[in-house]
Subunit: 199 residues, 2 copies
Amino acid sequence: MKKKDLTSMKEDKIELQETTISSKHVFDGTLLQVYVDDVKLPDGSHSTRDWIKHPGASAVVPVFRDGSIMLLKQFRYPPRKLFLEVPAGKIDAGETPKTTALRELEEESGLSCKNLEQVGSLFPAIGYADEEIFVYVGWDLDESNKQTDDDEFLINHKLHFSDALKMIESGEIKDGKTICALTQTYFWWKKHKPFPIDF
Amino acid sequence: MKKKDLTSMKEDKIELQETTISSKHVFDGTLLQVYVDDVKLPDGSHSTRDWIKHPGASAVVPVFRDGSIMLLKQFRYPPRKLFLEVPAGKIDAGETPKTTALRELEEESGLSCKNLEQVGSLFPAIGYADEEIFVYVGWDLDESNKQTDDDEFLINHKLHFSDALKMIESGEIKDGKTICALTQTYFWWKKHKPFPIDF
């Protein structure tokens, strides 16, 4: 069993890297772009990889002055369940992740914010998608007109940040990006403290 | 803007639910099964949903007596990057999530464990996949022979649980399931304390 320091990430990448031999676009959907690639493995042998090309996404944790945050209840078709989620959405062509964050925050929650900072990012499904989700925290919030996409049906759900963390613990929050976004924002907030929150 | 308690999840589900009109299996891959469904939205209008059918997966946080855990460095083809991850893998036909957890722990990290408890679960990509990942914590670990799948190339990386949490904060851990698994295990461990860890 090899034990190495994380500083060897670069060296390990070369050792573990899989390289593309050929790539085929096998499904062109409304949402999903699916590819099947032939790849060369580190030992020189070949394998295939099915994967989804995704433009990336942004997610925002909107924090109010009283330490509460705004989440959204949304029905998600693939798992056929209702989830409590942070406002988030796909990066459109020509957008920066920050522009997407501001747009989705306003479209989905009806909020705009004067301050928006990136707290991290995550890759939600590294086994089959290249998607990266950029995570932001927003504060100094203003309410504006709520507009949702035609096929989005959302219910706003305001709760204290500390209660949201308890809902990760209790299993009531099960959406991966929301668990990650709240965790990354919690760490960022404890370090930068734009204003005090009683966690 | 509607504000409701989470206790209304059931009522909200009816209000927000999308129902299947028809479903078509559009891609049958080695890894991915892609469907395109026609759905009826809550307002009665129609839309399409591209989605991936997934058998589910299990992930394990293996905790040693000294408070260290075993993660794995693995190159992931879709994002073309190296990630630090918890041992995890797909549920095979006929397996329970617990059986998968024990098998993947042994295959990927060379560890077996006397104690294994479920700490939670998460849905990594609710926008396009039905996958649920069941998260376990394992302790009283024994090393055994390491066996990896033919096309898996892994490097074990042992580190203290508290250092792994710091690597979520620093952004060095970016895999969604790993951030969620460590967060859920941290909460579970603080509550159940099988033995003390200096977080």
